[in-house]
């Protein structure tokens, strides 16, 4: 600074100081700053602009600013300024816009441009502030694509998907969710998860919401019945996930609903069919045994009638002893109970109802079934040797289903042995194994199962008997499997066949050995 400068007008001095301030500001700015005059000629070009465009300030100053623009702006820029100066209509000044710029190497890139002007009167200048928009636009595009992907996914998803607040109010739902529950999308705003839960399951649903809201778990899968707007119930499997906020606290829920109605119905139908088939098989087994059962009931009835008539005749003849008659009366009672017992066993076998598992002693079951099979055994000239392991662990079974399985195995064994009078013993044995199972094996002394047939005996409709249905072993194995056990048949070294039914022991309260 010199004296002469000090003597300059204070206005000029202020201008110079302002210019220095602007320079400092422009040098420090992160955004590109370009100053042009009314003709579009560049007066200054800050370092940020240099970095952005690849030009040195010296290469740009004194040239028309259109050199920084791609077509068509390059040709039209003079026109833009003229129109503004003539009409005062700002297209960009004071507004800012997104446009494109051109680097020294010719590449074009997106920019956010805002333009200001110096005060009118003076020679007017325009200040352009330029920010490279490449990153911003890329991020925005990524975000848009992500949103589109999410939207498409939600709209097209076969699962019902909803977001809900921690207290269960719906925040958003996808079309599948609307379809599943029968509400319009805007109706969800006024209902909650509780509304669409079957009334008897609402308490459970509230418990689950509480656990999720407390952050005890991040996700839960529950199967429950949902109520549609029209009141119909559907079976849903709900996958409920917690979305945590920035602080890690649960913020909202994402609920995915899988419509299980058809699957549940199919499962129930399959179970019903299985039950019916089991029942039919039981009945056909009973049918095959009808003659034997009638015989078994006829015996006590015959004895009862004969005891009664004999007593009457003795009393009429006058030479009945009181002891004889009393003795006969009690024998008659025994026979009546014997007939009743046969009927009880047959009824238990013929009864049809749902799968009812209970803790049972397999030994009791075996005793019952052997008594029922005893008729057939006697008529085949076979004796049944029952070998029961003492202290057998309990099993969790439906006796009504397992009984016919055993009966079937015993009767098969008897049939295989045929009417040979010598050495005909059928062994029915129970045993506990080391790996928490209990077995019942039926060992016959027949000819065994031919090797070429052994692989097929459990196939449905496979039979070697002229009047067989071929369902006995097939259904027996199905029943065994449904109980978590299995049924296998092998030929014994002694020549006959051994069929072994294995059942898992009941989980709790196993008796101490």
């Amino acid at each position: 600074m010199n004296d002469s400068s000090d003597t300059r007008t204070p206005g000029l001095d202020r201008t110079l100081r302002a210019a220095a301030s602007f320079r400092a500001l422009a040098d420090a700015a992160v955004d590109g700053i370009v100053v042009i005059d009314e003709d579009g000629v560049v007066e200054s070009f800050n370092p940020a602009a240099e970095a952005m465009f690849g030009y040195d300030e010296a290469e740009v100053v004194g040239h028309n600013v259109s050199m920084l623009m791609p077509q068509p702006h390059q040709h039209r820029h003079d026109g833009y300024i003229r129109r503004f100066l003539e009409t005062g209509q700002a297209r960009i000044i004071g507004i800012g816009r997104e446009t494109h710029a051109r680097r020294k190497d010719g590449t074009v890139f997106p920019i956010d441009l805002s333009v200001g002007q110096t005060a009118p009167g003076d020679q007017r200048r325009f200040v352009g502030i330029i920010r490279d928009a490449t990153e911003r636009i890329r991020t925005a595009e990524q975000l848009r694509r992500r949103e589109e992907l999410l939207r498409q996914t939600l709209n097209g998803a076969p699962l019902g998907i909803a977001t809900a607040s921690l207290d269960g109010r719906f925040l958003s739902v996808n079309p599948a969710c609307c379809e599943m529950l029968g509400y319009d999308p805007d109706e969800f705003a006024s209902i909650s998860l509780e509304h669409v839960t079957a009334p008897d399951q609402r308490d459970d649903a509230r418990d689950i919401l509480t656990r999720l809201a407390r952050g005890e778990t991040d996700a839960m899968v529950v199967e429950k019945r949902c109520v549609r707007k029209d009141g119909h119930e559907i079976h849903g499997r709900l996958h409920m996930g917690v979305v945590r906020g920035g602080t890690g606290e649960p913020a909202m829920l994402v609920v995915q609903v899988e419509d299980m109605t058809e699957k549940v119905r199919a499962r129930e139908e399959a179970r019903r069919r299985q039950n019916r088939l089991t029942h039919v098989t039981r009945l056909s087994t009973l049918g095959e045994m009808a003659a034997g059962i009638a015989h078994e009931i006829n015996q006590p009835l015959t004895a009862i009638a004969t005891y009664a008539e004999a007593s009457r005749r003795l009393l009429e003849s006058g030479n009945a002893s009181r002891t004889d008659i009393l003795d006969t009366l009690s024998k008659t009672g025994v026979q009546a109970r014997r007939a009743g017992e046969v009927i009880r066993r047959v009824r238990a076998l013929a009864r049809r109802r749902a799968d009812e598992r209970s803790r049972s002693d397999l030994n009791d079951l075996v005793r019952d079934v052997v008594q029922l099979a005893e008729v057939d055994a006697r008529l085949s000239g076979v004796s049944i040797d029952v070998q029961l392991e003492e202290q057998l662990p309990m099993v969790e079974i439906d006796p009504v289903q397992i009984q016919p399985v055993l009966l079937n195995l015993i009767r098969n064994g008897l049939e295989s042995m045929g009417p040979h009078p010598q050495d005909n013993v059928l062994v029915v044995a129970t045993a506990a194994t080391d790996n928490d199972t209990v077995t019942v094996s039926v060992t016959d002394h027949g000819p065994g199962v031919p090797d070429d047939v052994l692989g097929s005996i459990f196939d449905p409709f496979f039979t070697t008997k002229p009047a067989g249905t071929g369902m006995g072993l097939s259904i027996s194995r199905t029943i065994a499997t449904a109980h978590g056990g299995n049924l296998v048949g092998v030929n014994a070294a002694s020549g006959g066949a051994v069929f072994t039914l294995t059942l898992p022991t009941a989980v709790e309260e196993r008796p101490v050995p």
Binding site: H295, Q299, A303, K331, L379, G381
Partner: protein
């Protein structure tokens, strides 16, 4: 028949203890001698073909069945009348038994009247059979006293041949035939030719059984 023979007895063969016991009591209540057996084999071991009575036989039994026992008795030429006792599903078996000559069958559970009625009929038939058997044995005894020549003459007489034809057939004189013929009538104690024919047929029946 020896004079110390046991009275006609109802033999009960049934594998069911209670049925056997109740039948025993019923027979006693009407003063019928009764013996019970739990199996066909046990009965065969104890059975004396000379004993009178009838057999009340369960058709369905383990081991040897009622039908098997009947066959065995047939082969032993035992003539004890049999009443088969059948269960509900055994009608075809019973029909088969009837066709093969069983005397009777009764279905369980039966009425005591019906059963006793059949037992009495069976006992009567047994008595009649035994009487006929005794008669046949008597005829057979007489026949056994004939010489071969006399037997030849009897056969031709029974066949209806005149003395002249017999003489020619056997290459004898008519006079000799007449002597043989008189001896036959005498030894067989025949009142007439018709009587001789009946006796001859009775013996043939025996040979055929």
């Amino acid at each position: 028949m020896s004079p110390n023979v046991k009275p006609p007895t109802v033999f009960v063969v049934d594998d069911d203890d209670a049925v056997r016991d109740s039948l025993k009591m019923l027979m006693r209540s009407v003063n019928l001698p009764v013996e019970t057996f739990e199996s066909a084999t046990a009965f065969l071991e104890a059975y004396d073909p000379e004993r009178l009575g009838c057999l009340l036989l369960d058709i369905r039994m383990p081991g040897m069945s009622g039908l098997d026992l009947r066959d065995e008795l047939d082969s032993r030429r035992a003539m004890l009348p049999i009443i088969f006792v059948t269960g509900h599903g055994d009608v075809p078996m019973a029909v088969d038994a009837m066709q093969r000559g069983a005397m009777d069958f009764i279905q369980k559970p039966f009425s005591d009247e019906d059963l006793l009625d059949r037992i009495h009929k069976a006992l009567e038939r047994d008595a009649a059979d035994r009487k006929m058997l005794r008669a046949k044995r008597e005829i057979a005894n007489r026949e056994s006293t004939l010489t071969n020549r006399e037997r030849q003459v009897m056969e031709l007489v029974v066949a209806g041949c005149a003395n002249k034809v017999i003489a020619q057939d056997l290459n004898l004189s008519q006079r000799t035939v007449e002597i043989h013929r008189a001896r036959v009538m005498d030894k067989m104690k025949a009142n007439s030719i018709a009587h001789l024919v009946r006796m001859s047929e009775a013996i043939k029946d025996r040979d055929a059984t």
